[in-house]
Symmetry: D2
Subunit: 401 residues, 4 copies
């Protein structure tokens, strides 16, 4: 039998961390003994726990501790983090520490250093007194990589119980809710974010256009509520098709009438942009004079269109090298404080993977399974709304104007 003492401090009960800690220990066939517990006497005071965890074997103990650290526990017998130098490009040492999206600190020379560029599924490079998240593929031979669990501390977000906009619908994702309430909260968050001079990113799928949300989305751009647009080729193609022909995949957005073989407009839209030399060129040449892409280009809103296996065309603007696309996404997301994901599971998950847990994420989709999946980031800063995205954008644009 081997054991180790771990400690945690914070809103352990509210954030259900204490419960998760106990669960984790029991699930691993280990045992816990609470040594000290101080409960916050009021809503504002943090709690503190120290407990001894006992397992049958050292590897088993390591397994439990790995999970406990993820939850915000730290090993009581503090040591510096252990660092191993990568032996080759793109490879981490076998038991590298794999990051979560929560704020993390690494101990070096007795100091707790905050990790920069926090994201999940990264390694931590600890170099020159600086700790940074790095993707596996960005590792270079010789990089000092943090290994194991010693000297790692995570501080999960705590969801203040009454914080604007995130107190509602946190527990449940359901189509049986009043979306107008959600719209009002999101509008308030967007206004607040803009007033603080912070950035809002929107991740949008082509359904935004199909469902008639394009013009409302354009309003948001015009009114300065979109600082970054992250999407795929399809959003831009459908948007251009609507701007040039009034249809979306051949469906007339004014009358709802479908055209047999409606892909013709789609392909001609692509060809027109190709001929112009890209979206910006098409705006300059007066080929493209309305729509979401037009408004973004006019307003100087930076955008990235990431390619995918199902793309038609693609447009010259679409980044078909996905390594590059991921890097461009991550770059534009750098200082973003609020992200809206509108009917885009693929790009929404991509973005979710890149964000630290404290960036607020709002997911809107008519399919509850998509909302559940996107909202499932182990973060309290995510809300999901199951609704019709076209009508949602109409409401949102009207609430913000």
């Amino acid at each position: 039998m081997v054991s180790e003492v771990v400690e945690a401090e914070g809103h352990l009960i509210d954030s259900q961390i204490l419960n998760a800690m106990f669960d984790t220990v029991v699930r691993h066939d280990a045992a816990f003994e609470v040594l000290t517990f101080r409960i916050g006497r009021t809503n504002d005071e943090p709690s503190f726990v120290s407990m001894r965890v006992t397992s049958k074997t050292p590897p088993a103990l390591t397994e439990v501790l790995e999970e406990l650290v993820t939850l915000g526990c730290s090993v009581a017998s503090v040591e510096d983090a252990h660092v191993v130098h990568a032996d080759r490009d793109g490879c981490a040492p076998d038991d590298f520490y794999s990051t979560t999206n929560h704020q993390t600190f690494v101990r070096q020379a007795g100091q707790w250093i905050p990790v920069e560029r926090q994201r999940m599924d990264a390694v931590i490079v600890l170099d020159g007194g600086k700790a940074t998240c790095r993707k596996l593929r960005e590792i270079r031979a010789g990089d000092p990589i943090v290994q194991g669990l010693r000297g790692i501390k995570i501080v999960p977000e705590f969801q203040p119980r009454d914080r604007l906009g995130f107190a509602f619908m946190s527990n449940e994702i359901s189509s049986e809710r009043r979306v107008e309430v959600g719209v009002a909260r999101i509008a308030a968050m967007m206004r607040e974010t803009r007033q603080k001079g912070e950035k809002i990113a929107v991740v949008a799928g082509p359904v935004v256009v199909h469902t008639g949300g394009g013009s409302y989305f354009s309003d948001l751009v015009r009114h300065g509520y979109v600082n970054v647009l992250l999407a795929g080729n399809a959003l831009a193609v459908h948007d251009v098709e609507q701007a040039l022909f009034g249809t979306s995949l051949g469906v007339d957005l004014e009358t709802g009438k479908a055209i047999e073989g409606g892909h013709r407009h789609h392909m001609r839209a692509i060809n027109a942009i190709f001929r112009a030399g890209g979206l910006e060129a098409a705006v300059e040449q007066g080929v493209l004079t309305s729509g979401v892409m037009y408004e973004c280009i006019r307003a100087g809103v930076p955008y990235v269109l990431a390619g995918s296996i199902r793309d038609d065309g693609p447009l010259p603007d679409t980044v078909m090298n996905l390594i590059e696309a991921q890097d461009c996404y991550a770059e534009l997301l750098r200082d973003v404080k609020l992200v809206l994901v509108l009917s885009s599971m693929l790009h929404g998950i991509g973005v979710g993977n890149m964000l630290p847990a404290w960036v607020r994420l709002v997911c809107v989709d008519i399919n509850p399974a998509v909302v559940t999946k996107l909202a499932d980031r182990g973060s309290s800063q995510t809300i999901g709304i199951v609704t019709d995205v076209g009508l949602f954008l109409r409401q949102l644009a009207s609430a913000l104007s």
Copy 2:
């Protein structure tokens, strides 16, 4: 080998009846030979087909013919319908003719008599020169019941290609549509129906209230767009809960905040109505002063609340004897020309079963599977919209005011 000649006339190609006829024959391992075919030369002209159907055995031939008659074919060698007298209450003769929801004629004494109270899954009682649909359970011993297929003719609806409101989205049910277009069409239909002095029925589930659609629905009632309300106990209870406490199953509709054990309001709402002696009494006594039920009672809109196994309470107004509830529903649906089904699979299917195929049915639900199921009535007069019913009602009320 036995064979029979069948004929059909009408918009056989548009309504895909000709195709269905061929399919039916082949599926039954039978063969067809087209004897005559005259195609309508323009959109307005009907087509005519007569074809010989050949099967291996008489029972096999009967099986094919049964389906062909359902599709609108009639046996060329016309005879009067065959009638058998029921030998006991509630029972039809073994091979009774089971109706569809399409307009049906029965031949008696060489005359084609239109069937009254057309609905699906009924028998036809042919008595005193009058033909009427009757449910199995309403059969009385001695009733003359139509048996077999001779002397039966069905005239399926034909969907005129440009008819207001039903030309769009007929082929496909999808959440990726612009609902604003659908709302405009439905509003036009409702206005037109009201102008003609025809009746509109609304079938509504409690999600109407949960999603904040209650006040918009109330607007529709106030403006005279609801002539009949068919619902269950839950719609009324949630509506009353909102009227009395501002919550729906404990969720505050203004703030979105949920109350632990929110059923308390729900139960108190039921108790309050019980104490008053029912909904009408509660309105009279000033206990109930707002909401959908209040508006219906004030406007004299007849309603039926049908009970179900999951009902709380129920309210004194809820009809818990389902035979009676079905009869009340059917009675109120008698002259209705347009039905809106809002987030109510159970009551929506119930209503769908009762309607002749020519009554227009609009189904709105956020779950595409529900819309598909409700819209699947073998009728061209049904449209389905996949969207958020709360936002839908907001749009609809605004389009109609």
Copy 3:
């Protein structure tokens, strides 16, 4: 400012009760101060909390306390429960105590009396030293009804962390799970339940038959794994249609071929049972010789078919008075320890409303929204599985034979 001290004891952290308590207080704009907190030092030890809750007004305090009691808190200054006599049939006093589905105790003459027939949304009648749940509609004038919150104590279930079958998939309902694992657990639970001589109830919708699960369900009946069957008219009609014609709503279950107007078989099945005089009579007369209903009748498994507004027929066996149907359901559920809900939202919710929280409930449906809704009983004894119910039953029958 008014305040009150409340206490709770048990697995407060594991069951997230402590968190819910704090949330409740803050949501109501009240404040809490923890007076005492003793944490269970190991997994087996309970915790204890006492805290002072402060609100601005007495009614506001009552609102908070109402919710806290629901969570398992009791007011520290113990008094006997307050009882008011009902002034008329079917009506409770205005601030009657509305029950949860958790084990409840009522204090009378200084004694804590356990409440019998525990279910949610009931009143407690406290008579002759006995406390019993009663539905609003069952109240008779003069009944002594518990009012307010004094002298009420709730003991929520605690989910032991490693208990057979309920440790898995508790947090999340997803279609992206390995159903084979779930089947093995459920099979183990069913075997264990049968070995203990405890009862298993199955609530089944007609989709069980459509998806080809009928014969596997019949196996379960034959092998003694079904002690009670609760369903609607549709299950029985589809089952009989399959037994008599090999089809389900006209779709041949062996070949998958559909019959146009497939309702004919459906209606003839109903007529055949009508003619026989009911299901049991049909079995006795040799009319019905296979299927789920046949096996239940042969094995003496009691069943209730509850009517609904969408029923065809109905069969003579279907209970169309829903007050009676609810009572029959509740009666058969009396000693049941495990309930399987198979593709039946309507009857599943009905059953969920009747059960105390400690009865284990397994919900299986291909629609995640249905599973979420059914599993949402505020009980740790519920698991949901998103899968194809036909294939699920095949696996389950094979795991149990």
Copy 4:
């Protein structure tokens, strides 16, 4: 008023082409007059129609004709196809002919030349008596591109009414079907395809692994039923995670237990493959000894892993340049006759875009909306099955062994 005579021949009624033709004309506010119509007298005989279409303006007429050609009509006054030389790379002339996925012929020098590499959304390059589909981006300046509609003839697939496996469930996608019937048909198709020496491709998402289908999929590979595997990075990573750690995204596939922060295994699996130098190297070095990828590598089944914006890692084998990935997919799909898409909307749509309409496509997903979307290719050769893919694969593997 301008008019043009068009003709079509084939199974015009069965395939609903005649109906679609009439609809198209009316939708465009044009008129038709049937000049000749000859109906196939039996199921085997084709029909023939010639009709005059009249529009108000020449551009309006062109619009109608464009759609009619898509449906299989050809302009009666036959001319050679019109060819324009591309003026620059990646750009087609403005009114280029955009292909469908149906078999197409182009008329040159009075001869009808079949188009090779048929796919949708391409241009036709007509060069040296050879006609070939080419994507917009593959156009090179000077390429002779077919423009307009003259000299184009499409022959849509006809669905023979009793063809193995595709007669069932063609009209409707529903979760309320007996999947066992579908499995038997698909197994028969796979066997038949293999016996003929034709190729089967499988497009698979990671849900195949999550739901426990991995080992059954491996069986299919081992038994030679998979000739091509098209997937994304995630399938391979989850498969490797299961092979190395027994988990899938941290969920133990034997016990269903989840690991907090289960991404650690995921990232270590990626690192292990990186270290080995790729999947094949990992197999050679004995690092990877089981799973879908292992079986494919051992059996020499060619595979392509296409990258996406949400990829972790990616594995060295994943093609992150999506132009290249699309080309690799298309290359492997060249002679494939049957495609199974298993829980992969993204890659499934990608593949669907590349296939000619006559390749049979089977889509399996638990989400009906995904199945509907994938099956919507305007092709009669597609079937969709709504079920649990893990249990489906179990059934399929057992049916094929």
